[in-house]
Subunit: 429 residues, 2 copies
């Protein structure tokens, strides 16, 4: 028996979904007795050449052909962005269709509302593909790790910035050059700001944190810093000191209070996350029973994303076959405030540009001493045009103290500028 | 409302389960409306001190107190081994109780029978804890990655041997010494053969391969080689050549024909699996849509294993709440023969002990040349008591050719012995 699917959007991900559904239809039919078939595909431009679409998949530019077709039981949304995706998804749910989406922007911004409408209509919304591409993250957090209180999430969850930082590391080129490369290779968009300014990673962190910490968090809760100010020299100094720089998304539950951040961070080379390069993503999870776990794989791309979308579709088909239609509860168990904890302790990497005068370094050291902030490593670097570069890695200090130090350093007349400040991730036990 | 659970066995894992169920009971009640409680615990010795067990959990030495109690809906088995675990589990299933087990020996040997009985009785058997401890592996392979044809599984799935090899690597000690350390620390049993001879890893590979390749495989299908013959010098030479030695479990689907092996293997230091040390486990999965994925975490221990067991219990509680009781189909889709493919190509590490005579190396090189097997690297090593050591890494050759070469080398009068032959894992793309 056919199980009819409607597809919204037929771009990179949508085309992957069309070909993967077709490739796996026999297997799913053998497993469940139901054969998934894509019946209608909503596209903007009916005349555009789409090598992937066959005759029996009807292209339409009218959303109602998908959303109001009573034969369609599952709607897959691959349009992306907030509107019209949100309106379409809500209508599909209200018409008792299950929804599978890869839309991280929408789930990050309106996840709770969408899940509530799904529950009211006794259907499911699945969105494994919205975070981490092919890597199963939503499933394990929502199903397999429920016996844990998750205390820590640490992820490299944006492929574009990871590619740029990997290229900066391996080729010792600056940000702009690496960005241009990423754009030429199709890893970065013409307007790269959502990726390089950390917003894309922040959206994924919102989704993961909501599930892992079983609470509701919002994009505005995340302290976000992008990678535009990371220079090739920072990458080089980090390397000398035994670190690599990654855009790290961190969510922590400090006994009921959350901290959420996306920041370029120095990762020790012995840390498993240090080896996640190019377009790969990884998520580190710490649970009170499970201990440390890591999930690693392709975070984007047509087929990896389709793998997650069609995985969700197959889960739905199995459930429909078993007569199990209700949505699994989202699991918002408690309100956990997101705070800026002044006492969260990190080592910090600090790069200073100083006027090349006698006694500059003594003055900097004195300032650290007065603040009771000890230095773990100091590099004094090549001097050019009357300036000297000082790189310091501190011992663990609170974030309050790190801010105080930067304030004080900026006031020193002997310093030209505080060029770069980044937290340093500890070595895992 | 209480959901009553019976526990079979209260050793290391059982005790972890008792305390974790208790720790999460409120949360599960909040999520599902059902509060999991352990009602009865089957133990051999009623008088043994068990700090973890409270008054309201009834200890019994009579299996029928658990298996024939109609109030108990879920039975957790943590006894281990084949009997009496198998008899108890089958009885529980026939009495329509769901079963959660951590028993890899049993699932590897009798998984298909147990799953069939579960299906006949419309109940579920879940066994996430049987492979990889806390790491979600069964769940992702069975649920999230179903849109893929899995072609490759590569795993470090035995903590004992990984600890021993890690100690041999970091301390440059020999196998026996590292084994003694592992035994003293409780990482290896008094009789370590099931771990060090590779059988434990082979059983887990059987379970993972059955799920990933959706077919039935057996322990006798796996080509198993343990780590007893790996010497400290092999670890050192591997290090010099840019590799670490790991006991690697490999399952491959060559278009419908499987190869399954557990062997000590040289892993390039740049490979993500090279960084899996001590008691950690990891599984690498390649799917045709997802590409390469890796799952990493604690492979054993009381709480990590309990994390997986209680995760399965919570999944069952949710399903019971939603009125969804049928077992998810196992998914044996086709019979895939397990073969010994003569044409499977690997690089090989070969360590030879030669008599210290002129022309020995020339004769070895000639033999490789005649077999059209080229050498990628050669180390000629310190000579002692009239012997010289030759270490060769070949280019890719078929397994047939590797066997032919070893045969020929053993016949050379100039050689004392072929000391060690191990495959070399390629760098992943």
């Amino acid at each position: 028996m056919d199980l009819e699917i409607g597809l919204l959007g037929c771009g990179t991900v949508g085309a992957g979904v069309v070909s993967l559904v077709r490739r796996r239809a026999d297997k799913v039919a053998q497993m469940t007795g139901l054969r998934p078939t894509i019946k209608s595909i909503l596209v903007r431009d009916l005349d555009k050449e789409r090598g992937v679409v066959f005759d029996h998949e009807r292209l339409t530019s009218r959303p109602e052909d998908v959303l109001q077709d009573d034969g369609i039981q599952i709607v897959i949304e691959t349009i992306g962005g907030i509107e019209p995706a949100k309106t379409y998804i809500l209508e599909a749910l209200r018409r008792n269709k299950h929804v599978v989406t890869a839309n991280k922007d929408l789930i990050a911004a309106h996840g709770p509302e969408i899940l509530r409408v799904a529950e009211e209509n006794h259907v499911s919304v699945l969105f494994e593909a919205a975070v981490g591409g092919a890597i199963p993250l939503v499933g394990p957090l929502k199903e397999n790790l429920t016996a844990n209180e998750v205390t820590d999430l640490k992820g490299i969850i944006n492929g574009t910035t990871n590619f740029i930082l990997s290229e900066m590391t391996s080729r010792l080129i600056d940000f702009e050059e690496a960005l241009t490369m990423a754009q030429e290779l199709g890893y970065a968009e013409a307007d790269p700001s959502s990726d390089v300014d950390g917003l894309d990673a922040a959206r994924k962190l919102v989704i993961l944190s909501s599930i892992a910490f079983q609470t509701e968090v919002h994009l505005t809760d995340v302290r976000v810093e992008g990678i535009r100010h990371v220079r090739a020299k920072d990458v080089r100094y980090a390397d000398e000191l035994g670190y690599v720089i990654k855009l790290l998304a961190v969510g922590r539950d400090h006994g009921g209070e959350l901290t959420l951040s996306v920041r370029p961070t120095l990762i020790p080379k012995v840390h498993p996350l240090a080896h996640v390069s190019d377009a790969y993503n990884a998520l580190y999870v710490r649970g009170d029973a499970a201990g440390d776990l890591m999930f690693f794989g392709r975070g984007a791309g047509s087929m990896p994303t389709a793998s997650a979308v069609v995985g969700d579709v197959i889960a739905l088909v199995r459930n429909l076959k078993l007569g199990y239609v209700a949505s699994s509860p989202q699991g918002t168990l408690s309100v956990k405030p997101v705070v800026d904890r002044e006492d969260e302790r990190y080592k910090y990497y600090v790069r200073l540009l100083a006027h090349d005068q006698p006694g500059v370094f003594a003055r900097v050291a004195q300032l650290f001493g007065e603040a009771h902030a000890s230095m773990e490593t100091v590099l004094q670097k090549r001097v050019q045009s009357g300036c000297a570069e000082i790189v310091i890695v501190t011992h663990d200090i609170s974030s309050a103290k790190s801010r105080y130090l930067v304030d004080q350093l900026q006031k020193l007349p002997q310093l030209h500028s505080v060029e770069c400040v980044m937290p340093v991730e500890p070595v895992t036990e």
